[in-house]
Amino acid sequence: MIDRLVGLICALIGAGAIWHAQTLHVPFAADPVGPRVFPTIIGGVLILCGFILMLRPGPVTMEFGTWPRALAVLVASLIYPLLLLPIGFIAATALLCFVAALAFHARPLPAAVSAVATAVVFFVLLDKMLDLPLPRGPLGI
């Protein structure tokens, strides 16, 4: 069932790629092939593979672990870039590591300690020692 769905999506992506390639407008003919042919071929391969998968699907075992933990890491990862510039590298990274540490079964206090330590260590290592500028927060650290 999952394979059929994957096949369908692949075929649709392939069709989209071919359609997009045909809309490309080439101002002048630099070479006889142009930018269209290659995406069209790849789109064709995707459609073909999609159909093969739809017609001859195999079993896909979906063995999930405790997926809410992965989701927590994901949400923290999505919020991280939004916080990075406003509150600075150390605070944002500590927050990211705190959530991730909880997701990896840490108790809150050790998680907080290790998160802050990780953030500070990386800041010192990258910003101070290797001279790669990382965003400072409002307090300048």
């Binding site: 101002p27 790849i42 590591c97």
Partner: protein, 504 residues
């Protein structure tokens, strides 16, 4: 021999203080990262890639570092395989078969020692073979025209499909998706925007570092967070130490595995996982007297040696032809390209300091690794005692810090996470990530050669099949595509089934 003279010049590059320090950092970090459960060579290289660029290291230094990480993690990977029974990457599944029983019976230290020696034998012999084979191979490659390159790349993709676990059609889907992702941005030939959907950020294309970090760091952490991997650390100690007789006893197995591993590593598309599986199966057939799988030294030495020989072997086509033989060498090829260096036949004549400096550094790196991995292996083994909730959040933070350092853009972090989610979904539905990576790196080369060939013939497709070389390569590709339809890749599957676990 001109190879020896060139190698000597390479040593002058590799022995500068900076390059020595970087080689040491590379192999030590590689061993450390490789030792972490669930994290393999490709993750190690991906993790440090952005930092190389952000630090603006000179190309030969950056490549010495990345290569050190690569073969260093081949040494480190055995630690978690033996002590935890958790292979860091598919190439190490075979190491667990005899390694873990040895550790459980109290001979963990001996198991680590013999596998360290095996890694050294495999790694170093492969570097020696590489020294003498690289230049002849480039001579062959010099005769390649654009059409031959197109055929060669299609053959690499086809071999990936044949050798990978699971369905070949999914490998092709991964290849097609990788090629499509690489097309995002401005077309080099005509300046036309493709697949940018009017977004300014996508004009420059998808950044290579974001892609590798997304595929091999973020997605990996998401998987690990679900807690699919767990284990109990065995003690290294108390049992009998490795004796000299046992080492001698394993030497024939190691030499056989070196040859097999190097050969399979050089073939495009087949990586360390196939090599170690075949070395184990072959060694079992030759010397098993009912002891294999219960802690036979040779059953441990053979796959470990083959794994490292194949890793080094897979660098040969990357350097000599510009076509990577494995996922990790594809990442390294991408690194070359970010420095505007094109690996391939011209690398050895135009940038000998890069090519030979790298090869020379691998002699030094393997020696360093022998020291790091025999007396100091306990230090690395102790890494396994660091709790997961300190390690993996740290890896995630380092990944994002690296992407930020190289791009200076918070938006790039969102793209990286997005790629990570895509990679997570792809892995869930059984679409392999390594062919996607390989295709992404080769896309530009493939399209350029394709268009160059067709402009020579003014648009006639017959030119793709015009030379004897290209006809042979196309025929091989057809065989490689057709083979899984007729017969399942039995050997690999049988070996994996024997290991009793899916390739992680």
């Amino acid at each position: 021999m001109d190879a020896l003279a060139a190698l000597l010049a390479g040593f002058q590059v590799a022995l500068t203080p900076l390059n020595l320090a970087v080689a040491f950092a590379g192999v030590a970090l590689g061993t450390a990262i490789g030792a972490l459960p669930g994290i393999g060579p490709i993750n190690a290289v991906a993790l440090l890639l952005p930092l190389c660029f952000a630090l603006k290291l000179p190309p030969e230094t950056a490549l010495i570092l990345l290569a050190g990480l690569y073969y260093g993690s081949g040494y480190g990977g055995r630690i978690s395989s033996i002590l935890l029974n958790i292979p860091g990457d598919p190439g190490l599944v075979m190491t667990t078969l005899d390694g873990y029983p040895l550790a459980k019976s109290g001979r963990g230290a001996a198991a680590l020692a013999i596998s360290g020696i095996g890694s050294f034998v495999g790694g170093t012999s492969a570097v020696i073979l590489m020294t003498f084979l690289a230049v002849p191979l480039t001579r062959l490659a010099l005769s390649f025209g654009p059409a031959d390159y197109v055929a060669l790349m299609v053959l690499s993709f086809a071999l990936l499909g044949t050798m990978s676990e699971g369905k070949a059609v999914k490998t092709w889907i991964a290849v097609a998706l990788g090629l499509l992702l690489a097309m995002v941005g401005i077309d080099g030939g005509t300046g036309v925007e493709r697949f940018t959907f009017g977004s300014l950020e996508l004009l420059g294309g998808i950044d290579f570092t974001s892609l590798t970090i997304g595929l091999f760091a973020v997605a990996e952490i998401l998987f690990l967070a679900e807690g699919m991997i767990s284990g109990v650390v065995s003690r290294t100690g108390n049992g009998a130490r490795l004796t000299f007789r046992e080492i001698v006893y394993c030497i024939p197995a190691m030499l056989r595995a070196t040859g097999l591993g190097f050969f399979l590593g050089v073939l495009p598309g087949t990586g360390a996982s196939v090599a170690s599986a075949m070395a184990y199966t072959a060694e079992k057939r030759i010397s098993d007297k009912g002891t294999f799988g219960k802690g036979d030294m040779r059953g441990l030495a053979a796959p470990e040696t083959a794994d490292n020989a194949a890793q080094t072997g897979s660098m040969v086509p990357m350097l000599a032809l510009g076509i990577p033989g494995s996922g990790t060498t594809a990442v390294m090829l991408g690194a070359f390209m970010m420095y505007s260096i094109t690996p391939g036949p011209l690398l050895f004549t135009q940038r000998p300091e890069v090519a030979w400096g790298l090869i020379a550094s691998m002699y030094i790196g393997n020696l360093m690794l022998l020291v790091l991995n025999l007396p100091l292996v306990g230090l690395f083994a102790r890494l396994l005692l660091v709790p997961a909730w300190i390690l993996y959040p740290g890896i995630l933070a380092l990944s994002y810090a690296g992407v930020y350092a190289v791009s200076n853009s918070a938006f790039e972090l969102l793209i990286t996470t997005g790629i990570g989610v895509l990679a997570y979904i792809l892995r869930r539905v059984g679409i392999p990530l390594i062919p996607l990576m390989l295709a992404f790196v080769l896309a530009r080369l493939l399209e350029d050669n394709f268009r160059r060939a067709l402009s020579l013939s003014d648009g006639g497709y017959e030119i793709l099949f015009a030379t004897p070389t290209s006809i042979v390569l196309w025929l091989l590709a057809v065989v490689a595509i057709g083979l899984p339809l007729i017969r399942k890749p039995k050997l690999h599957q049988a070996a994996m089934a024997e290991a009793g676990k899916p390739g992680a």
